[in-house]
């Protein structure tokens, strides 16, 4: 019976996106000049895990991309290649492609195949092109050179083709120093050579396998007749000679035939999957042609055209290229040949040691398996420390604990009537219970808490991409990434925060020239900061850019027909930019500036119970402060009594509560009452009136609670203040419907339901002329 893999898809999706996110973070943190091996290993592991997972679940498109990615990463971590900035770019691009593919498998739009191809090609190219590393190539492999005599009989038709012989010699020249004793001619098709080589016979035979049947080759030990130096000088000649016919051949060679060989050979991956090889060819066709014309040295690839892609070309190619670059005389040998330098540059990384090379040949599988095992042990430690639980389960747990807290409060309430002397044990037990319950609630709530780094981690990338696009130099700093916030809030804060960061980058940070002119560091700084302040989480977006421009904002506001005056304080002016439809960007960029920015940000943040503040100093920067409640599920509230009913007013909305004197209460237009508090006249809204409990009572008899909402401040008249609580928010809509003026419900300590006020809506209801009676 086959197992239905689709049930595990979700796990893979989650893991893969986690790995992608990790990879991106690590890439962005990578010090390009001196990458730490540990980081490279970690990135490699992430790519490898995605590859493994996608392979298991049959997402072959992802496997292909990760394979290319992994190959390059693998060589980086083995220090065969040097990390370069464009590689990081390519890795990031590959990450993006993988993410699109991942989303596609989750039902999203399909990834652009062109893009995938381009990314793969880019990665391949980066793996091939390595000018510096070539020079850094270390010494010759150990072992003594052997002198051999080689003779073989070429098939008659090939023997007369000078180019074939040339190719053969070139192939050999890569693995050995060659001296030609007899070139095949019409009379004698045999080829006689002496070789000085470090390679085994098998390797030499492999090099020839494309040209002649293995059994027609005879190898025998041969005493060196001359010094190696002489040999090389001689050898240069045939190579040169061979180059010429090569030219002629290339012109005639039908294009498609040359391509497969090319694709395969540039790709240094051990036994690349054919699909990948072909993908490369499409990309390489152009470059390939150019190369053929000016680099005859590459002609050794040509004969391989009839090799089946699966025939492990790496085995031949590996040693061939290796020696080519390694042999101290290698370049001397080819000095005369045009494009010799180029060849060197194009040559894939030679292996560091013969040992490694051997493992790469027939033992590709074993080498990989070993690596995989290694990964397992490394990742095992990190996976064991966390488990994946669905959010519903956690929410259910939180609900249950919420119930427990209420039940505990009810018991404590009931026990309050007992005689402490008689029920001493019971009461101390209840005390303990309440302590434990509180601890339990805290721990359970913390399950939903995620560090802010979940949000912050995406910004280095955003900033990097955007700064590049805008031609600005920006450094991104994050402070307090470990501050924890409810998962629901984390999800909801991401978009507004992205908008703010983009805004800071686009409008805040100036171009390097402007910054220098203003005497600032050409590199701007955007700081993201998260911290706890009281019961809130405070997130700040700080830039050291140009700051807000008072005059421009005022001018713009007038243009929009807003009611402004020059006498407004800076704070009031800054608030204007959060008004709907306000954008001072001189031109609309695709980054920001559509005028839907700040007001949407403000609305979204207020929607999750947060507040936005803005400070700015012209010429020095802007600071945007977002205050958020710790969690969506719990609210700090003041319970108030109105006509015998209990309501909860969110603490964040309350400015102050007071008992007004008679002299502070005034009337306006007959029945509308206002209250004079600290120089402001605030409209009085009677909760009793709003909630249909009849006429509002005497203001001086109750309490007036000054609240701040979207519409501004207002004074809510309530009968009494009952106390301050942390309440668990319950939805009214789950079983009922939305009630005007009410944002939700909660269960009080006595088991009764109390409604939570939606201060903004209540203010609106109360100020509306035809109020609900």
């Amino acid at each position: 019976m086959s197992i239905d893999m689709s049930q595990f898809y979700q796990v893979f999706f989650e893991e893969a996106s986690e790995h992608l996110a990790n990879m991106e973070t690590m890439l962005l943190n990578l010090d390009v000049g001196a990458p730490s091996l540990e980081d490279l290993n970690a990135i490699f592991r992430a790519a490898h895990s995605i590859k493994g997972g996608s392979g298991t679940f049959g997402f072959t498109d992802m496997t292909q991309v990760t394979h290319v990615l992994e190959t390059l990463l693998d060589r980086l971590r083995k220090e065969e290649l040097k990390l370069r900035p464009e590689m990081v770019d390519a890795f990031l691009a590959a990450g993006d492609v993988l993410r699109t593919q991942l989303e596609h498998h989750q039902g999203g739009p399909e990834a652009d195949p062109e893009e995938i191809r381009a990314v793969c090609a880019r990665l391949d190219e980066l793996g091939v092109d390595r000018p510096e590393a070539a020079q850094a190539e270390p010494a010759t492999p150990p072992g003594q050179p052997r002198h051999l005599r080689l003779s073989c009989v070429l098939p008659a038709d090939l023997a007369l083709d000078a180019s074939v012989v040339g190719n053969l010699l070139d192939a050999l020249a890569e693995v050995a120093a060659v001296k030609v004793l007899h070139r095949p001619d019409a009379a004698d098709p045999a080829l006689d050579l002496t070789l000085t080589t470090l390679r085994s016979d098998g390797e030499l035979r492999d090099s020839l396998a494309f040209f002649v049947a293995a059994e027609s080759v005879s190898l025998s030990a041969h005493a060196p007749e001359e010094q190696a130096w002489g040999l090389f000088e001689d050898a240069a000649e045939p190579a040169q000679a061979a180059a010429d016919p090569g030219f002629g051949l290339f012109d005639e060679t039908p294009a498609p035939a040359t391509d497969p060989g090319f694709g395969l050979f540039e790709d240094d991956a051990p036994a690349p999957p054919p699909a990948q090889g072909f993908k490369r060819e499409d990309e390489d066709q152009d470059g390939g042609y150019g190369l053929f014309e000016d680099a005859p040295g590459r002609r050794e690839n040509l004969p391989h055209r009839d090799v089946a892609p699966g025939e492990a070309p790496a085995a031949i190619e590996g040693p061939g290229y290796g020696l080519f670059v390694q042999a101290p005389n290698g370049s001397g040998l080819f000095e005369g040949a045009p494009g010799a330098e180029r060849m060197k540059a194009e040559a894939p990384a030679p292996e560091k040691s013969p040992g490694r090379r051997i493992s790469d040949q027939p033992g590709v599988e074993t080498a990989k398996a070993g690596r995989r095992d290694n990964d397992k042990t490394l990742t095992a430690t990190s996976t064991d420390t966390s488990i994946r639980v669905s959010v519903e389960k956690v929410d259910q747990l939180i609900n249950l604990v919420g119930e427990l807290v209420i039940t505990q409060a009810m018991i404590a309430d009931a026990a309050g009537y007992l005689d402490p002397a008689q029920a001493e044990k019971l009461l101390s037990g209840i005390d303990l219970l309440s302590r434990n319950t509180r601890d339990l609630q805290e721990s359970v709530m913390s399950i939903r808490m995620l560090p802010m780094s979940m949000v912050f981690s995406r910004f280095p990338r955003v900033v990097r991409d955007l700064a590049g696009k805008l031609g600005k130099q920006v450094e991104m700093k994050t402070v307090g990434e470990n501050t924890e916030l409810d998962k629901g809030l984390i999800e909801k804060i991401t978009d507004p925060l992205t908008h703010l960061v983009r805004n800071s980058l686009d409008h805040g940070i100036e171009t390097p020239e402007k910054r220098v002119a203003a005497g600032k560091n050409p590199k701007g700084t955007i700081t993201l900061k998260a911290s706890h302040q009281g019961g809130n989480v405070v997130i700040e977006v700080i830039d050291d850019g140009g700051g807000l421009n008072r005059e421009r904002i005022l001018a713009k506001a007038r243009e929009k027909g807003m009611n402004v005056s020059d006498a407004m304080s800076d704070g009031e002016v800054w608030l204007l930019i959060m008004a709907p439809g306000f954008s001072t960007a001189e031109q609309i960029t695709d980054v920001s500036g559509r005028g839907v920015g700040m007001d949407v940000v403000k609305k979204n943040i207020e929607g999750i119970g947060g507040r936005v503040e803005l400070e700015s100093i012209t010429g020095h920067g802007t600071r945007i402060v977002i205050r958020l409640p710790l969690t969506l599920a719990i609210l700090d509230g003041m319970s108030v009594g109105v006509g015998g009913e209990t309501f909860i007013v969110p603490l964040t909305a309350i400015v102050e509560s007071l008992q007004p004197g008679q002299e502070a209460v005034k009337t306006m237009a007959g029945d509308s009452r206002v209250i004079h508090i600290r120089g402001e006249y605030l409209p009085v809204i009677s909760l009793a009136e709003v909630f249909g409990q009849g006429q509002a009572g005497d203001l001086t008899q109750g309490i007036v609670m000054v609240v701040e909402a979207e519409e501004g401040k207002a004074a809510l008249h309530v009968d009494e203040l009952l106390g301050q609580h942390q309440v668990v928010i319950k939805s009214l809509e789950a079983n009922y419907r939305k009630v005007p003026g009410i944002s939700g419900a909660t269960i009080m300590g006595d088991g009764c339901v109390a409604l939570i006020l939606d201060v903004a809506a209540v203010t609106r209801l109360g100020l509306r002329p035809g109020r609900t009676q």
Binding site: N399, L400, G402, E403, I406, E645, T646, V690, F691, G692, Q693, K730, S731, L732, E733, A734, N735, Y736, R737, K738, V739, P740, G741, I742, A745, I747, G751, C752, V753, A754, L755, T772
Partner: protein, 161 residues
């Protein structure tokens, strides 16, 4: 057409929970009933129609309470220790209805249901599955799901305006 098909979902089991409202006896599909409990004072909700008594805390779930006696103008809406709330599971919602008393669980086959004559009563005949007879009593079989999600109950968002 005087009868409606039973609401989608579970086919009627033929078993009805009967309750009284004033002098009348009603029956609702037993499968829709979650539990029966005593009446406790709900938290009033401003601006709701008088038959919606408010919401209660049912083991952490906020449940609205509808007094069918007020809705159908039957019996005295008195609340004492004998007042009964039937907690219903309708769709994905939980709703409590206040009735005078719960009497029995009876078996009524759909064949034995007679169509209700159509005349302007406070209970729209759309919500009546039919009239059943048990001994000499008339049982009004109500499609409680339709009734509770109907416009005039104002329990769901669509009815909010």
């Amino acid at each position: 057409m005087t009868t409606t098909e039973p609401s989608a979902g579970i086919v009627s089991s033929g078993e009805y929970l009967t309750f009284t409202l004033g002098a009348e006896e009603y029956g609702i599909d037993i499968l829709k009933v979650q539990e029966i409990r005593g009446y406790e004072n709900p938290t009033r909700i401003a601006g709701s129609p008088p038959f919606i008594k408010g919401v209660i805390n049912l083991r952490g779930v906020i449940v609205p309470i509808v007094d069918l006696r007020i809705k159908f103008k039957l019996g005295d809406p008195v609340y004492d220790q004998f007042t009964v709330v039937i907690i219903l599971n309708i769709g994905r919602r939980v709703v409590g209805v206040v009735v005078d008393s719960v009497s029995d669980v009876i078996q009524l086959s759909s064949d034995s249901l007679r169509p209700a004559p159509e005349f302007g009563s406070s209970l729209d005949t759309r919500y009546i599955l039919g009239l059943g007879t048990l001994d000499d009593r008339m049982i009004i079989a109500v499609d409680i799901e339709q009734l509770m999600s109907g416009q005039e109950m104002a329990l769901v968002e669509a009815a909010a305006s």
